[in-house]
């Protein structure tokens, strides 16, 4: 068994027993005449708190369990079923459901076991923390809220806030003997403040922090960032509609790249809904100094998975080097179609989804890195600093390459910045990637990846002026 665990999870959590589960599945499958199967399972124990002006707003706990089982029928077709019932009757029902579904399996593209499902896993440094009591979490969050409210008289509430911790386990098993197991603890805090001055519109801003345990959360940093972001938007003005040089914050640029990750997704390419094609490998997609890697193993990726839904190990993968497409993200089935190895980016299902882990965006080593010495506070011409993008689910047309998104940000000129009242930024992702000007400052670790500030020329901004 490949196990990736350092200690037992919290005392209240129910543990998955890989050996017991595998033996039970084998017995049930044999009884049902099923020779080939695999299974993904997870269970978790969560506690979280929210507060409202010094009082507990809601305290939540959850024990969750789920499995997805796939079976291959006599014709080699695959069926799948998911359930939250890990009892013996639940497992038997899941196997039966998967076998029934296999009659409708896609003969044109049948998943197989990943050839890497028993390959060695990378070692992740993921300390296991004992959970804190929920009353301790509550006291911590109350204190954080109070500190944030005290930062400025205009901050009246912190309407969206939460402090949460999770103990979880994941399993992957298959009938060829693969047995993956990972235990993990994580914690998060988010603070989203609302400020309002007399006669002015309310403004908001927030921050989030992740860690392996509640005691490790950078709460002071979260308060500082939430306060700074909220206060900095109090003095706002509308912006004239027009084309501007834009500087994306690391978070905003990572959000945008993530929304268009179908560019690198072999599943989307095979389905005909990506802007890329098989022939795009080796083609110039972006400015010649842009590198984008997917690296779920980066130590900054709190809660990294050691293996994907098919048991393939997580590993770093170069997607773009010098703006040229190097590799795509793959599951077992898409890798087979492309004649390459799976990359560790698969989900689990009858049609296996593919998705990115964690992006590293930087200048390509050996390139000029684009325009040097960029400093948004030193510019004489007006530029727009985009702090965060909203409504990506509605405003991004990934298959078309277009986006039109509301954002929070500032208009900056001659070192002076003023918050923009309400505006959208629109463009085409391919044009944007080719129109990169350069990078500013060091790369920042965010929950979604590693990225510096990114300068882009000539984006369309719609304001209310």
């Amino acid at each position: 068994m490949d196990s990736h665990s350092n200690a037992q999870v919290g005392a209240n959590s129910k543990s998955l027993n890989p050996i017991q589960l595998r033996d039970r599945l084998e017995q049930l499958a044999r009884g049902a005449g099923i020779n080939q199967w695999d299974l993904g399972a997870s269970c978790s124990t969560d506690t979280s708190v929210q507060v409202d002006r010094g009082e507990a707003k809601q305290m939540k706990g959850a024990q969750r369990s789920a499995i997805t089982v796939r079976v291959w029928n006599g014709d080699g077709l695959v069926g799948v079923t998911s359930t939250s019932d890990l009892s013996d009757p639940g497992l038997a029902k899941a196997l039966e459901g998967a076998r029934d579904a296999s009659a409708f399996g896609n003969a044109d593209e049948t998943p197989a076991f990943s050839p890497l499902a028993t390959a060695p896993l990378a070692t992740l440094e993921q300390p296991i923390h004992q959970p804190q009591s929920i009353l301790h979490l509550l006291a911590t969050l109350k204190d954080a809220e109070r500190q944030l409210l005290d930062r400025h008289q205009a901050i009246g509430t912190v309407p969206y806030n939460g402090l949460a911790q999770r103990s979880s386990e994941r399993l992957y098993l298959n009938s060829d003997g693969a047995c993956r197991h990972q235990q993990l603890t994580t914690a998060s805090i988010y603070l989203y403040a609302r400020a309002e001055e007399t006669g002015r519109k309310p403004r908001s801003g927030g921050a989030v922090r992740l860690a392996y345990g509640a005691s490790d959360l950078d709460i002071a940093g979260c308060i500082d960032e939430a306060a700074e972001r909220t206060i900095s938007h109090l003095d706002y003005a509308p912006i004239d509609t027009g084309h501007y040089t834009c500087v994306f914050s690391p978070e905003a640029f990572l959000d945008l790249v993530g929304a268009f990750s179908s560019l690198f997704n072999a599943r989307a390419i095979l389905d005909g809904v990506s802007l890329s094609s098989k022939e795009s490998l080796g083609q110039q997609l972006a400015a010649p100094f842009l590198s984008i890697h997917d690296n779920g193993l980066n130590p900054g990726n709190v809660g990294a998975s050691a293996f994907d839904g098919e048991g393939t190990p997580t590993k770093p993968l170069a997607l773009l080097e010098g703006g040229v497409i190097q590799h795509f993200l793959h599951s077992e089935a898409t890798a087979r179609a492309f004649g390459v190895a799976p990359t560790g980016h698969a989900g689990m299902g009858s049609k296996v989804s593919v998705g990115p882990d964690w992006f590293e965006i930087s200048a390509t080593p050996g390139s000029d890195g684009g325009q040097q010495g960029l400093n948004h506070l030193g510019e004489a011409s007006p530029l727009v600093l985009i702090e965060s993008l909203s409504a990506l689910h509605a405003g991004v047309k990934a298959s078309q390459g277009s986006f039109s998104l509301p954002f929070d940000g500032w208009l900056i000129q001659n070192g002076q910045r003023r918050s923009i009242e309400a505006a959208t930024v629109a463009g085409d992702i391919r044009t944007l990637l080719k129109g990169l000007v350069g990078f500013e400052g060091p790369a920042k670790v965010t929950p979604d990846g590693l990225c510096p500030h990114v300068w882009v020329d000539g984006l369309s901004i719609t304001g209310e002026a």
């Binding site: 939250s84 896609n106 609302r194 908001s204 509301p406 309400a422």
Partner: protein, 473 residues
């Protein structure tokens, strides 16, 4: 491994188990204890081009236990429906409020009332739904119809989801109610591509409580509608940004009210202090042309329900009447914390979410005008025939995407345009809805918020907004 307690479903045999649990909670000092039990049976199908590429059954079970003391509450969910599992969850919830489980259950809990069984007549719903064979066949008819009616189609997709849910709600105020829900939805999507021109379009159709719905689906008509829109938008130019009047079509155009105002009339927003309308009941907050309603009663509508997720029968709630704010949507916690009476709007995605005040079927009522009159009243503006999704932020700022748009020039529709996003603030846009047409229609959708993703209906007649910010290029 726990033994599955679900063989018999949620019938009245659960009464004694639940009464014991509720009694224990009350005896420990809780003001109110509520238990939400759930069983689900889902199937999702995907057809791509002319092949079924995914058949995904899923079933689940669980409980959510909520304990109130004063205006505070603790909520715990679990997949373990054994007595020990439920008791453990209750003890956790009590502990959140500083309450210790007590062995001395007291008589302050008078027992559950007679079961109100809204599911009694629905026990055959699941069996009456199409089997996988039939459903896949219908879905492939849809993708074949897309091929017949479309041009330059690079991808054709049909999707079907059937969500069956049995719920049992019991609370220490005596509430004891059971229901069976059935939602079915169908989606058709295409990606048309010709050189550098690309257009992705889709439509979704959904009903509740209609086992035969898929059999009555007009696959050919739906495919024609999608292909017609895709063909028009394939060569559309990007819209020019700016402030302009807009006419929003009926059906899914109602997302503007849902996002711009509906969420702000939920008591969850009053609790958070994030609605500008908190103290505006009785005030004019919209144009006098606007009357807006939220209800859970329309036959077969996606957001209809026989009882909410707190066991209360839904109402027809007039939110705004002739521009005047009349009521908020409220759930149990909302009533407790804001004083707004419950409206049968306590909803949740499932057992792992605590109920919250949420919309059901929400629409702007029909007005006196014809749609043509609205368009004719605009010199230069935007006609939004089909809307994409949207959202509202913590300061009441909303946004939503226009999937299919046309310019209005001198009172007439002219060329198609794409890439538009409408943004604004509820307080500013509601007074600008100056005309409502007489063609109210509803459309099915999904709404994600504090208590998860739920089935809703949006709707409106054609409406005219005098001025709105249109984001574009």
């Amino acid at each position: 491994m726990v033994l599955s307690p679900l063989a018999g479903g949620f019938d009245t045999t659960w009464r004694s188990r639940l009464e014991s649990l509720l009694s224990s909670g009350r005896g420990s000092g809780a003001d109110l204890v509520e238990v939400f039990l759930e069983r689900t049976d889902h199937i999702g199908l995907l057809a791509e081009q002319d092949t079924i590429t995914s058949v995904s059954p899923a079933f689940g079970m669980g409980a959510g236990i909520r304990v109130f003391r004063g205006d505070r509450d603790g909520f715990v969910s679990t997949n373990d429906l054994s007595d020990a599992g439920l008791l453990h969850a209750l003890e956790q919830a009590l502990g959140m409020l500083g309450l210790a489980p007590s062995a001395s259950a007291v008589a302050s809990f008078e027992g559950l009332k007679d079961l109100r069984d809204f599911g009694a007549t629905k026990s055959d719903w699941l069996k009456r739904c199409p089997e996988i064979q039939e459903a896949t066949g219908t879905l492939l008819e849809g993708t074949a119809a897309l091929e017949r009616h479309g041009h330059h189609l690079q991808a054709r997709r049909g999707s079907y989801a059937r969500d069956w849910q049995e719920v049992l709600v019991a609370a220490s105020d005596g509430t004891f109610a059971r229901d069976i829900r059935l939602h079915q939805s169908l989606g058709l999507n295409v990606l048309a591509a010709d050189g550098d021109h690309r257009a992705g379009l889709g439509r979704r159709y959904g009903t509740s409580g209609c086992p035969d719905d898929l059999r009555q689906w007009d696959a050919d008509g739906s495919a024609q509608e999608v292909c017609s829109s895709a063909g028009t938008m394939l060569y559309a130019d990007y819209v020019e940004a700016g402030q302009m009047p807009a006419v929003l079509a009926n059906r899914f155009g109602g997302v503007i009210f849902h996002e711009a105002c509906g969420h702000l009339l939920e008591t969850t927003q009053v609790e958070r202090g994030t609605t500008p309308f908190a103290d505006k009941v009785g005030d004019l907050i919209a144009h006098e042309a606007v009357t807006a309603i939220d209800e859970g009663l329309s036959d077969g509508a996606f957001g209809s329900l026989c009882m909410d997720d707190e066991g209360m029968e839904p109402q027809r709630t007039v939110l705004i009447e002739n521009g005047v704010l009349k009521r908020f949507l409220s759930d149990r916690a909302g009533e407790l914390r804001t004083g707004h009476a419950r409206t049968g709007s306590g909803r949740r995605q499932g057992h792992s979410f605590a109920a919250a005040s949420r919309m059901r079927n929400t629409f702007i009522a029909a007005g006196p005008h014809s749609p043509d009159e609205l368009i004719a009243s605009v010199d230069q503006g935007l006609y939004c025939k089909s809307m994409g999704g949207g959202s509202v932020g913590p300061t009441g700022q909303f946004n939503f995407a226009v999937e299919e748009g046309y310019l209005i020039e001198n009172g007439k529709l002219t060329k198609p345009v794409k890439g538009a996003t409408l943004i604004g603030e509820a307080k500013e846009v509601m007074p600008r809805i100056s005309m409502c047409a007489n063609d109210l229609e509803l459309a099915a959708g999904f709404c994600g918020s504090v208590s998860g993703s739920i089935f809703v209906t949006v709707g409106q007649p054609h409406i005219k907004v005098d001025s709105i910010t249109v984001g574009g290029r």
